[in-house]
């Protein structure tokens, strides 16, 4: 599929084709950008660094009903999973995270909740022209214009958006709006090259992960884990805001006779997460929990699925209340190898 151009003058019309049809885009809510539904007549402005919360909840809601039942009755009612959805303006790192997480949800047992929701979503990505302060996607296999996980990639060329379909779903979006689009000429393509190259050169933070996945086991008892977790307050922000963190809890909720089994995000940084009923905890302090978090992303996941479970979005750095910095942790890991 050839690349198409959308003049920014036609942006409201383009959005208008999808607004009100379960289109979600970043909107300013309070002090932060957050994915929210776009109603008819609304035109989201795609001028933002990234949303504070990744849009992972589109396929993996923070709390979701697995099934409903009545107490004393074994009849199980499955939930409706909703309708088709378009996420517009997702950053390449967050889309890549969805394809990384999908590997886990397909591992031997297909997870029907995640996979069916994921299937209903069309991802329209927006390449990053201005990487954030703590972005490091290009160190961990991503790029400001990565298309992994995306159906369509938009690149902001100043006066227009370049639109590149990645999948048939993305092509369908372009088809729907074909009256607004024109074929991109060689100048636009040249401009795209220059813009994305410049964006890449603006990424200031880097992780040299060479040797880390295979080197981490030998650092199991290294003093670095006590050092890097010393200030951790165990709030779980790093994991809740991580687009690749996928751990969940399952709980039964009962109100009168009506009940549901639901699952909700959980965090390996919480004490209860691995606590045995006996009171024994295999990861008793934040030292072990931090070590597990880093190992899970940079060692165990690589071992199982051949990809680092970190996309370099920088959220855990930006929003950690005590300034724990995964890039710095990885630098110390590297140093200790």
């Amino acid at each position: 599929m050839s690349a198409m151009l959308l003049s920014k003058e036609k942006w409201p019309q383009f959005v208008g084709k999808f607004a009100g049809k379960n289109l979600w885009a970043p909107k300013l809510e309070g002090e932060a950008m957050r994915f929210s539904p776009v109603e008819e007549g609304e035109t989201p402005l795609l001028e933002f660094s990234n949303t504070r919360i990744p849009p992972k909840s589109a396929a993996f809601p923070q709390t979701e009903t697995m099934f409903r039942f009545q107490l004393g009755n074994q009849e199980i009612k499955l939930p409706e999973l909703g309708e088709e959805m378009i996420l517009m303006g997702i950053r390449p790192c967050d889309a890549r995270a969805m394809s990384i997480v999908e590997k886990l949800f397909r591992w031997d047992y297909d997870d029907p909740y995640y996979l069916e929701r994921r299937n209903l979503i069309t991802l329209i990505g927006l390449a990053c022209n201005e990487p954030g302060l703590n972005c490091f996607c290009s160190s961990v296999g991503g790029a400001p214009d990565s298309t992994e996980g995306l159906d369509l990639l938009m690149v902001d060329l100043g006066d227009s958006f370049l639109m590149e379909a990645v999948t048939p779903k993305g092509e369908a979006v372009l088809k729907e709006a074909e009256d607004l689009l024109e074929k991109a000429g060689s100048e636009a393509l040249k401009s795209r090259e220059a813009i994305t190259a410049e964006a890449g050169s603006k990424i200031r933070r880097t992780v040299d992960h060479k040797g880390i996945p295979e080197g981490l086991p030998a650092l199991w008892d290294d003093p670095l884990w006590a050092r890097v977790s010393a200030s951790c307050i165990g709030c779980g922000t790093c994991t809740y805001l991580c687009p690749t963190c996928h751990c969940f809890d399952i709980q039964d909720e009962v109100e009168g006779f009506e009940a549901r089994r639901c699952r909700m995000w959980d965090s390996c940084m919480f004490e209860e997460y691995s606590l045995h009923t006996s009171g024994h905890n295999p990861r008793p302090t934040r030292r072990e929990r931090t070590r597990n978090r880093i190992n899970h992303k940079y060692n165990y996941y690589v071992d199982k699925f051949d990809v680092i479970a970190c996309v370099g979005c920088g959220r855990c750095i930006n929003l950690c209340p005590v300034n724990i910095d995964i890039v710095e942790i990885l630098r110390q890991v590297k140093e200790a190898l």
Binding site: M66, Y109, E116, C247, T277, H280
Partner: protein, 281 residues
């Protein structure tokens, strides 16, 4: 939603239940049969596997299946009364239903062990996952060169499956060695810890597979003593447990190092286990 939803439980009716032990953390065994005949006929498990069992409205717990498939078209679970779910299970009686998902996890490679002597070393509730091996070997005695069972608990009242041991002492190729931590009036078996009893029995490692399960501290010393007796790493197996929610490698928490106990385990050969840093954390 697809028909293949691994989170949807089946239901099984309690045909019989009894207490193995007493006290606050008593152990109750449930013998259950799937309510749906199609599920009953389609079910198959191997010794060492587990299932997520529970009570709707309370939740689920991963419990090892403590019977061998050779015993019949039923399942047995021996459940210690500990938290919310196991307390709810303990309230159930014959005729009540429990939810069951599974079977989950790998299993003891029991067919590969044919022709060998089997040595099981259990402590407390840790005998539950070993019991299927004992029953499987008893049902296939011509295929194995013998079975030695070492089983211990704090007191005689803390030993599970007590009624099942007498018949073993009547067979030449089966032997059962019981031990308790502290001397008791009327106790005719050994007194002492399980790892020490293993050393005292001094079993030959020749053509033998050793399988152990029990409290982490017991497993640690048993492993040490098996090495002292000359067992090689690949002759030793154990089975682990950790907190679990999904049972199918998604929810994240049961990993010991990079191994998900629910999926990569619960059975581990010592040659793998010794490289898992968190295995007995």
């Amino acid at each position: 939603m697809t028909a293949e939803n691994p989170y949807i439980p089946n239901f099984a009716t309690i045909e019989d239940s009894w207490y193995e032990t007493g006290g606050d953390r008593c152990i109750k065994t449930f013998k259950v049969v799937f309510t749906d005949p199609a599920v009953r006929d389609g079910w198959s498990h191997k010794p060492g596997q587990c299932a997520m069992i529970g009570v709707l409205g309370e939740g689920e717990s991963m419990i090892s299946i403590s019977c061998s498939p050779t015993e019949g078209k039923f399942l047995r679970f021996s459940v210690m009364k500990m938290g919310k779910v196991t307390q709810a299970l303990h309230k159930l009686e014959t005729g009540d239903q429990i939810s069951v998902r599974g079977p989950y996890g790998n299993s003891f490679p029991i067919d590969e062990w044919q022709g060998k002597k089997i040595l099981t070393i259990g402590g407390g509730i840790g005998q539950a996952p070993l019991r299927p091996i004992v029953e499987y070997v008893k049902a296939n005695r011509d295929k194995y060169a013998g079975l030695t069972m070492i089983y211990g608990a704090r007191s005689s009242g803390d030993l599970c499956f007590k009624g099942e041991f007498d018949e073993m002492s009547k067979c030449d190729d089966l032997s059962c060695h019981l031990t308790i931590d502290i001397e008791e009036e009327g106790w005719s078996h050994n007194v002492g810890f399980v790892p020490q009893m293993l050393l005292d029995l001094n079993p030959s490692p020749e053509n033998t597979i050793a399988v152990t399960c029990g409290p982490p501290i017991m497993i640690r010393f048993v492993l040490e003593n098996l090495k002292k007796l000359g067992f090689s790493d690949d002759q030793i197996y154990t089975t682990l447990e950790n907190r679990m929610k999904c049972g199918i490698g998604k929810c994240g928490r049961c990993n010991a190092g990079g191994m998900y106990v629910c999926k990569d385990g619960p059975v581990f050969n010592y040659s793998v286990l010794k490289n898992i840093p968190e295995a007995f954390a």
